[in-house]
Subunit: 100 residues, 2 copies
Amino acid sequence: MKSQFGERVRTLREKQNLYLRQVAPLLEMDTAQLSKIEKGVRQLKREQIPIIAEILKASSDELMTLWLADQIYDVVKDEKMANEAMQVAEKKINLKKRNK
Amino acid sequence: MKSQFGERVRTLREKQNLYLRQVAPLLEMDTAQLSKIEKGVRQLKREQIPIIAEILKASSDELMTLWLADQIYDVVKDEKMANEAMQVAEKKINLKKRNK
DNA sequence: CTTATATTTGCCAATATTTGACAAGTCAAT
DNA sequence: ATTGACTTGTCAAATATTGGCAAATATAAG
């Protein structure tokens, strides 16, 4: 499982019977780039997520979640302290929320 | 709480009664850089964590955990889907571990 | 086997981000 | 006013990421 976001995008695109060549221009990129994004070789830009969500008639929140998860995974994959780090980070996030 | 790693380093350094000017050269940087690192304005390089841990007579694992947590936090702070993303990422990590 | 279409891969220049180094700044103690 | 510790701002150099193109691969059809 290389990129959850990429795999999901591919699934959604195929469900809509769309080719890379059809979707790519809507994101102002070429098919090669979109191919790489679906394969997880490159990352879609954060601000393009709502756009691709609309194109694929999918939930922006769902795609954002997967996209963020990929970014997090990139940081901690291969790290011995991955789980501990996640716990610490989670605490900090929840603390922040409480203080809002 | 800007940077858990930075704050911990500062605490440890003060506990050892060391000045920035004494520690910085051991990490091959100037005091300005180390100051920024402690303030969370810049990040220490991952591979320097064991070095600073030894200088400060601290646990490398602990510092690595805090450092990683800071990186994760950078990704998801201000993100509505932060918690969901963390859950997804965590699952992926545990899956990976199981398959080792 | 040849063609056509979809996707993938490799490369490199353009762009963006991070870093290192230095100078000048604040602050507290004397 | 001087000293020492730390902080802040700036900017060029080093790194990393991206965009775009060309060529490679894969699959299906004739």
